[in-house]
């Protein structure tokens, strides 16, 4: 199990628990269920690189944007 932190930069910070095998799409689905926003509208990003097929490790911090 992995735990990832997603920061909204608008006042919300979310911890999500995920398997190491899961993809980012799966992570977005879990976030949508936990936040209440559609998975298509979520964009995970780290400083200018948008995460689509990237690897994620335990304790990583990601930036969360709402398209």
């Amino acid at each position: 199990m992995i735990e990832v932190v997603c920061n909204d930069r608008l006042g919300n910070k979310v911890r999500v628990k995920v398997n190491s095998d899961d993809t980012i799409g799966d992570l977005k689905k879990v976030l949508s269920a936990q936040i209440g926003i559609k998975a298509e509208k979520i964009r995970l990003q780290k400083s200018y690189s948008i995460f689509k097929d990237h690897e994620i490790h335990d304790g990583d911090g990601l930036e969360l944007y709402y398209n």
Binding site: M1, E3, G11, K13, R15, K17, V30
Partner: protein, 688 residues
């Protein structure tokens, strides 16, 4: 479930909740077994105490977290406690690993500290060993004992030595070694003077080897060895005893030498005295004397002298070589100079010979040229002689002329002059007759226009004229040829041929003239008075054409000019100049003119250039050429013995035809009848 708020909020769901969500979404549940497997492997029984302490702290943390969650979240799940327990176990596992790492690090640090302590202990032990005097047993000290008698401190260090020698270690003070070297250098300078003195007394020592042996001995004697305890006093005393026992005599000698050396050194170091200067001079003089005398005895000479002699011998040897080279060079130079001198002389002789040969060749060439000229002149003379004899053979009076020439040339010349004067008198008489007698003037008047008419009639009367001319030509040619030869010695073949041609033409004219005279006599009977008036006009016209020689010399010269007697001889002029290419038959190419004449070089060039360029000379130039040609023809027709119009010949021909010794110039029917007969004869011939 949980709701988001705009303020700073951290939201996190439990594992069970996330599993529910994942199942609803169709995803796999979270893996929890992976953590359960790890603690079994990592747990250690030794670290149980630490675990308990950490557990208590962690419990407090969890409690605080739960409090915060309760404040944030109104609802709470009952299973959360079990989850908290699971989380606590997991955290313990993590703490065990970190604790293990820390322990291992501490162990390593302790080991390193122990190792360092051991090393320090060893070093301290070694240092203690070096500082003990007992360790310095058997070590040598390279410096003399004298320098250590003072109570001052001296630092000793190991002497530098090559690795390969494997020699024993030696202790030395650097400053003392330098002092020793300086003293040795001074002694070496002094020793030379020593050897000089002994050699003067006649003692023989090892020569070269003595220097080396002394140096080696000094090195050995200076050093001393430390005792068992490495103390200075015992060692010094022992070494002193040994030195005395071994080399008592040597020290005594050294002391004596040292005293002398010191004195000399003091004097040299302070300043040079007159005595020393004299010594230097004496040494130089001695060296010079040895070179002059050439003595080579080894007993008397010193080492320095030997060295000097060796150098001098080398120099002398080099000088001998140079002398030999000089000899060879001098001989070579002499030979070269002699060769060069010989070559110069030979060159001069060769040049003189060449000049002589050139002058001889020039003389030969000149002689050849002169001989050519002479041969050419002889050739021309022979040609003239041949022509002369041919003319004489044709002539009837040949023997008479030969006799005259054989006797004296002057007489011949005088006779020629008399003949010429007679001819002139005859001509004058003829002229007088013309003026006085009318028929003669008529006759002469008739010739001029008749000449033109005769030319027209020649074509018709060719057959008759040839028969008559053959008979007449033979007689006239013989007489004329004789006269011409007498008058013109320089005449050429061409002129003779041309004269012959002209003579034929004259005869033709004469025949025609006779016929015309008969016609004129018929008219005279009717118009005598008219003709008399015309006579005077005709005479005035004719006279300037024929100058009167009796009047003046200018007239005579004019006459000669008309006849062509006063022409220069270009051949003679050309002969005086160098080679005459024009006269050499082998090289001459004759270019002939329209009229059949031979052209000069210039004329030929002009014609050839005109042909090449396809041009002709101008109108005036063409008229000039024709006029000159006509003049030449007139000249050729003329005779020296006759007037330009040919009166004498006409009279002679008339007499021959009539076979009468006289000629009737005026009168009645006699003359008229004769003319009529002639006319009739001509008419008959024309008919035939």
């Amino acid at each position: 479930m949980s709701e988001t708020t705009p303020t700073n909020v951290i939201t996190s769901l439990s594992i069970e909740e996330t599993n529910r969500i994942r199942i609803s979404l169709g995803l796999k549940p979270l893996k929890e077994e992976s953590k359960e497997v790890k603690p079994q492997t990592t747990t250690n029984n030794n670290n149980n105490n630490n675990n308990t302490n950490s557990d208590t702290l962690e419990v407090l943390d969890t409690i605080n977290r739960l409090k915060k969650k309760r404040e944030l979240n109104s609802k709470l799940a009952g299973k959360s406690i079990a989850e908290q327990l699971l989380e606590g176990e997991n955290e313990d596992e993590d703490d065990d690993i970190s604790s293990w790492i820390n322990k291992s690090r501490l162990n390593e640090k302790q080991k390193q500290i122990e190792r360092k302590k051991e090393l320090l202990n060893k070093k301290q032990q070694k240092q203690q060993q070096h500082y003990n005097q007992s360790n310095l047993k058997g070590m040598k000290v390279g410096n003399d004992i004298k320098y250590f008698e003072d109570e001052n401190e001296h630092i000793l260090t190991l002497q530098d030595s090559s690795v390969l020698e494997d020699s024993e270690d030696v202790l030395i003070n650097v400053n003392l070694t330098e002092k020793e070297k300086r003293e040795k250098q001074l002694q070496s300078n002094k020793k030379k003077s020593k050897f000089d003195r002994y050699d003067d007394f006649g003692e023989h020592k090892g020569g070269i080897l003595s220097d080396y042996s002394d140096d080696d001995g000094d090195v050995v004697d200076n050093g001393f060895i430390l005792g068992n305890d490495g103390k200075f006093d015992k060692d010094s005393s022992s070494i002193g005893q040994n030195g005395l026992s071994l080399k008592d005599q040597a020290k005594k000698n050294l002391e004596s030498y040292n005293m002398e050396d010191n004195t000399t050194t003091s004097i040299l170091s302070s300043f040079y005295t007159q005595e020393e200067m004299e010594r230097f001079k004496k040494n130089r003089q001695s060296s010079s004397t040895t070179t002059k005398t050439g003595s080579s005895t080894a007993a008397t000479a010193t080492k320095g002298d030997k060295n000097k002699k060796k150098k001098l011998r080398k120099k002398s040897a080099t000088r001998d070589l140079l002398n030999e080279l000089d000899a060879t060079t001098s001989s070579d130079l002499g030979s070269r100079s002699s060769k060069s001198v010989i070559t110069e002389k030979e060159k001069k002789e060769i040049e003189e010979q060449s000049k002589r040969e050139e002058n001889y060749q020039r003389a030969k060439d000149k002689a050849n040229e002169i001989s050519k000229q002479t041969f050419s002149s002889d050739y021309y003379e022979e040609a003239e002689d041949e022509d002369f004899y041919k003319s004489l053979a044709t002539a009837k009076k040949a023997p008479i002329f030969q006799k005259e020439k054989s006797i004296v040339d002057k007489i011949v010349n005088n006779k020629k002059k008399q003949d010429e004067s007679l001819d002139h008198q005859n001509s004058t008489t003829n002229n007088l007759e013309e003026i006085t007698i009318n028929p003669t003037s008529e006759f002469v008047r008739s010739l001029n226009p008749e000449g033109l008419i005769s030319n027209y009639r020649l074509t018709t009367t060719t057959t008759t004229t040839t028969t008559n001319n053959n008979k007449i030509d033979d007689n006239t040619v013989t007489s004329l040829s004789n006269e011409n030869n007498n008058n013109n010695n320089d005449s050429d073949d061409n002129n003779n041929n041309s004269n012959n041609n002209n003579k034929d033409e004259e005869m033709k004219n004469i025949d025609d003239g006779d016929d015309d005279d008969d016609e004129n006599e018929e008219d005279e009977d009717y118009n005598k008075y008219k003709e008399k008036e015309k006579k005077y006009n005709n005479l005035s016209a004719i006279l300037p054409e024929e100058p009167l020689v009796s009047g003046s010399v200018s007239a005579a010269l004019r006459l000669f000019a008309q006849k062509g007697d006063l022409q220069p001889n270009p051949v003679t002029n050309n002969r005086k100049r160098g080679i005459n290419y024009d006269n050499d038959e082998s090289t001459v190419i004759e270019h002939k003119d329209e009229f059949g004449r031979v052209m000069s070089r210039k004329e030929a060039f002009v014609k050839m250039s005109q042909v090449f360029h396809g041009k002709k000379s101008g109108k005036n130039k063409m008229e000039k050429r024709k006029r000159l040609y006509e003049e030449e023809l007139k000249k050729m027709k003329m005779d020296s013995n006759d007037t330009p119009l040919g009166m004498v010949k006409s009279f002679q021909s008339y007499q021959e035809k009539t076979n009468s010794p006289y000629l009737v110039l005026s009168g009645g029917g006699g003359a008229a009848n004769i003319l009529k007969q002639n006319i009739n004869n001509n008419q008959t011939t024309n008919k035939k």
